[in-house]
Symmetry: C2
């Protein structure tokens, strides 16, 4: 099995066969009136779909609606998504507006309204400006290359669009998986921590698609953290229109995971105020689950993140984060690396070349590795440093 998985130049969510997208500036976010903020993703062939959603108990209306439709409908035809307003915590009006937005889009593109999913991101507690959406939805032009527009439309405090596509060749089989995501704030592990839309022209079964997505998300979007907060709106959706025919299960899973990890790293590295990406690999844990727990604790630690911002080789904070993570760990077996430089061996500090470590900490990507030397569990998590800019952004988000 030597499938060839290749990232496409300019790849995006509309790279797979049969997918179209478009966006417009509806003025939903009054402070960014020029930015596209309303977008549609459409497949010319109805799609099997699977998704993971935020696990919060107070979910936004679009999440509730999309969850229900995914459960009730056989296939879906489109997704409408807006930024600038989360349509969360506005009472029953939220569900009415979410359904209304889907209906407007469905009517325009000839898809049954109930086969349109909805996603929103932005300020919580403000009703959707339905008049603006009604006035703008017809301006959206669907295009085979429209994924780039969609990627821009879902951005909030993101500094750059996040999109990619992989083309897979395996013998005679050839298919594509594309995706866009937005992140930036309210990003935390163990949840569908973002808006992510993934498409494929592969033909797969629905149960398999759900399983493959869950597996890919566990290794990607669930392994990133920006600030430990979780949004009521988070969802990661995958749509499969089958136009490329059947594909080998293992190859599909592997390609989907690679794409999701690529997008997840883009989110982590573009966290609010971030100046560098942190990659933490834990090996030698009792099992994969514990490795994940430990790795996420490190990239979630405010103290580790602040130290990375200052290029401060305060490795004790990394060790402390692993220690409190809940994962099994024994001090006398603990090894720690900053980049390739070992700083702790069997629980004890090693003398290290401080200027060399500081130089590593000043790179765009900072790599930490801990070996717990207890088992074969391994996992990698991604995060970003904590800068004063994070505070500035989030102290003035609403006002």
């Amino acid at each position: 099995m030597t499938a060839d998985i290749e990232f496409l130049p300019q790849g995006t969510v509309t790279s797979p066969e049969g997918f179209f997208a478009g966006a417009t500036s509806a003025g939903i976010n009054e402070r960014a009136a020029d930015k596209p903020d309303l977008a549609v993703l459409f497949s010319e062939a109805p799609c099997l779909a699977a998704a993971v959603f935020t696990v919060t108990k107070l979910k936004a209306a679009p999440v509730l609606l999309s969850q229900q439709r995914l459960k009730e409908r056989g296939k879906i035809g489109a997704v409408v998504v807006n930024s600038g307003c989360a349509n969360a915590y506005v009472g029953e009006q939220g569900l009415i507006d979410a359904a209304g937005m889907a209906a407007l889009v469905g009517k325009g593109i000839g898809v049954v309204p109930e086969d349109v999913l909805v996603a929103s991101t932005g300020v919580i507690g403000t009703p959707l400006p339905m008049d603006k959406i009604r006035a703008s939805v017809d301006k959206i032009v669907l295009d085979r290359d429209g994924g780039h527009q969609l990627a821009k439309a879902i951005m909030t405090t993101d500094t750059q669009p996040k999109e990619a596509a992989v083309r897979v060749k395996d013998g005679n089989v050839e298919f594509t998986i594309g995706g866009v995501a937005k992140g930036s704030g309210m990003i935390h592990p163990d949840l569908a921590t973002l808006l992510g839309f993934i498409t494929t022209d592969a033909a797969v079964e629905k149960d398999f698609l759900q399983k493959a997505l869950k597996k890919a998300v566990d290794a990607s979007f669930n392994m990133i953290s920006v600030d430990g907060d979780t949004s009521p709106n988070d969802m990661a959706l995958v749509m499969a229109n089958g136009l490329a025919g059947n594909v080998p299960a293992g190859v599909f899973e592997s390609a989907l995971e690679q794409l999701c990890i690529y997008l997840a790293k883009l989110i982590a590295g573009d966290g609010e105020g971030a100046t560098r990406l942190i990659e933490m690999t834990v090996s030698g844990a009792i099992n994969t689950l514990e490795a994940r727990t430990a790795a996420r604790a490190v990239v979630s630690s405010a103290l580790v993140k602040a130290a990375v911002y200052g290029a401060d080789p305060n490795w004790g904070r990394i060790m402390a984060a692993v220690g409190r993570s809940g994962a099994e760990v024994e001090e006398s077996k603990f090894d720690l690396y900053i980049g390739e430089i070992q700083v702790v061996k069997a629980g004890k500090a090693l003398p290290f070349n401080e200027p060399a470590v500081v130089k590593l900490l000043k790179g765009d990507e900072v790599h930490f590795g801990a070996n717990l030397n207890l088992g074969s569990g391994q996992a990698t998590a991604w995060g970003c440093d904590l800068s004063p800019e994070y505070v500035t952004i989030n102290s003035q988000y609403m006002t």
Copy 2:
């Protein structure tokens, strides 16, 4: 039962009968050479003692040693504590040095070395400078008023000492509880999250003392958060020398809790870089445990903390934090208040006077209240805002 519980002016850990303390500048922290950093707390009568410790799996040497001694020894006579060096993650040398520090102190004051507990706080991964400690320990002068010195000696990035004492009168019974604490960074709920030393001249049984401490800590030190991180060194210790005779159990519990809450609020309000204290009360939860979970999620949220720093009335973040906390909550029953001003009723935003809310958010203490309207569980948690200063402090801690 109308016991009179009164906070003493200038109250401190040596306010109860028979307690002495003193401190000196041993130069353990080279960057703050003038600051006292080595202190002893001593009781002229041997003490029953109880403690709660950090729950991390990688505990610092002084925690391991003190835990063991509390278990093995009947009574203790003194505590030695240093700031500037955590004596954590330095291998077996840590235990040797912790025991060595206790022995030096025990010898000087005539207490069996094994009856001396040890606590440390400061940078992780550096061995204790035993030569400096050896050269300085004899300079410590124990004094009935020495609690103030001890309060200063345990400070690291704290901006002010944290100390208090309550005098309790209940009929013919009269006793005092005193305490000092340090906090500032690595402060997070559900753990013994700080160094806290509490003393009393009340005569109480050891099991009761442990139970009363746990109960008080659950309502105080476990309800504060500064940054979500947990130190390997955290401990809260209570010592009872019995000089004031027997006391009513309920009155003792109540006074201990009040003292701990007072100290906990001082820690939360003096979190690294903090400009204001956040108090979050959750009522109407299914039970007390769920109320605590929800309240702590709010004061731990980086986004809520950043919004408070900017006096940004972004109440959706408070609601989102409650929603993801894991506590049972129903959107249609959720009420939210900023100070006395209701901003959400039955899950829906109410129009509110924004300048009035912003004014409340600019106060030294910001109060949030959520009523889940599901049961009678109630709890209060305390935290602080997140300022750019937090990042500055923590990006340059070690270097």
